[in-house]
Symmetry: C2
Subunit: 294 residues, 2 copies
């Protein structure tokens, strides 16, 4: 049970957690914080938060649970602003899509890693953003990965886990470094490929015709290129090393394919496509279709 939840950054991610916890009866009071009063007023009107502050230092006062759900690029500033205003029993967590960079930001802002700090990543989202797009069911049966630091206290870890479970999520745990590698492969690389593909086609001379003849498969394939550009810029910068490693691995594999096409090596192409189809079909059986995304 949370006495006072403070959500810094009341958008799709923070707003949906607030809705879910309220619906589950898991917290008494929800305070929102952010830079835009209009946006926060909208969140109050929608019943997502009870009240708001535009100064994060004031917002966190008396809160026993603080979720930082801003873009990755804003987290260091938030940590620095709230550092001297946290309650003694405050647990601090975040919802960033990369974890190493959040830990670095906390380390530098706090001058060390507080025992109440438990980095986390809910693997959920849609192409839409903003509090108006938030809904209580976003996290139901979705995975949340906790990446505790060496100094995270067992009590703080347990409280963050309980919070996400109350929102319906399946909570797992791994190191921040491993998280960043896994997500670079399954989320960051595919998003980068989709963005580059769409941008590349949009620069072609007959782009109007190109998009006109694009069918359903293309639409699904490029849907993630509608995601928030600022968020994805931040992810690419925040998880640069792992993202670069995956891009370069992919470049190498695509060059091999290119050579097989150039050499008319049908056997090699078939072998590669067969392995991909087998892996995809196997993976698909294990995880049923689902409208959500990241």
């Amino acid at each position: 049970m949370i006495r006072r939840l403070c959500v810094i950054g009341v958008g799709l991610i923070g707003g949906s957690l607030a809705r879910a916890l309220r619906q589950a009866g898991h917290c008494h009071e929800i305070v929102g914080a952010g830079r835009s009063p209009e946006h926060l007023q909208q969140a109050v009107r929608l019943g997502v938060i009870d009240r708001f502050e535009t100064d994060p230092a004031r917002a966190v006062q008396g809160a026993d649970m603080i979720l930082v759900a801003t873009p990755l690029g804003a987290m260091r500033g938030v940590f620095a602003a709230i550092r001297d205003h946290l309650a003694d029993d405050a647990v601090l967590t975040d919802a960033g899509s990369a974890k190493g960079c959040v830990i670095e930001a906390a380390q530098s802002a706090f001058g060390g890693l507080p025992p109440g700090f438990v980095p986390a990543h809910p693997i959920a989202g849609t192409e839409r953003s903003g509090v108006a797009a938030s809904f209580a069911e976003l996290y139901r049966d979705r995975r949340v990965i906790l990446t505790p630091t060496a100094t995270s206290s067992p009590q703080a870890i347990a409280r963050v886990r309980t919070m996400w479970e109350a929102a319906g999520a399946q909570v797992t745990q791994m190191s921040a470094a491993h998280h960043d590698e896994v997500l670079a492969a399954t989320s960051h690389l595919p998003h980068v490929l989709a963005f580059v593909l769409v941008e590349s086609l949009a620069r072609m001379q007959d782009q109007r015709e190109i998009f006109e003849y694009a069918a359903g498969g293309f639409r699904d394939f490029t849907r993630i290129a509608s995601s928030d550009p600022v968020m994805w810029r931040d992810i690419c910068l925040a998880n640069a090393a792992a993202v670069q490693a995956m891009i370069e691995r992919f470049l190498g594999d695509l060059q091999v394919l290119d050579q097989a096409v150039a050499a008319h090596d049908g056997e090699r192409l078939l072998e590669l496509f067969n392995r991909a189809k087998t892996a995809r079909d196997h993976f698909q059986q294990q995880s049923p279709a689902d409208p959500n995304d990241e």
Copy 2:
């Protein structure tokens, strides 16, 4: 109105056209041809064709419309087999996903391009294949591109157009070379990227975990990697020049992105992602969602 339709290759594509034309009352008799009697018997049982021949030379006798819907790699052999057995008024068309190679195959098998030959490409399909997956609505409101040759007769072009319109399709026309470039961009390149991505991840050490944490966006993005590997090998070989050109264009664009990540050039990343999102959102508005694919 078709007197006798001969479908060579009764799978998803040929079977769905047969079903659609029967449902529209657009043909009297449908003869199937293929290599597997069991498969053709199934097509008869499903009511997709009236009867079948395993010898294409016999199958085309007396047919006034012939659709070759085999994999691209089999078309040259089919053309050679039927060459001396076509009725005088026979119109010959195909459903191949690349067009230059089909025209070359016809040229070499016929020793010239017959006036009754009208190459075409229905832009429709699903990841599933085989006659059991066929359905009459596959082509409804989907595009079919005719790529007539210099010698295609206006009458033959009109009859192929009328046939696809009877199946509910929107028929357009362009040169084979232009078709092959447009499709390399909108269909062949995305399929190649999806195959390479899934195969690349499947080779990673922690592939089980990788796929476990892959969420909805990844599933949509890689759905086309479940498509028929033989068909996609054939497409890559048949449209090799255009596919290679697109792969190499993409490789260059991805290298630029990689350099931007390496240089922490957030401005450049944001600019690129914004252009992609704008193009994707604009394109999405123009073409509503649709369950079909190619």
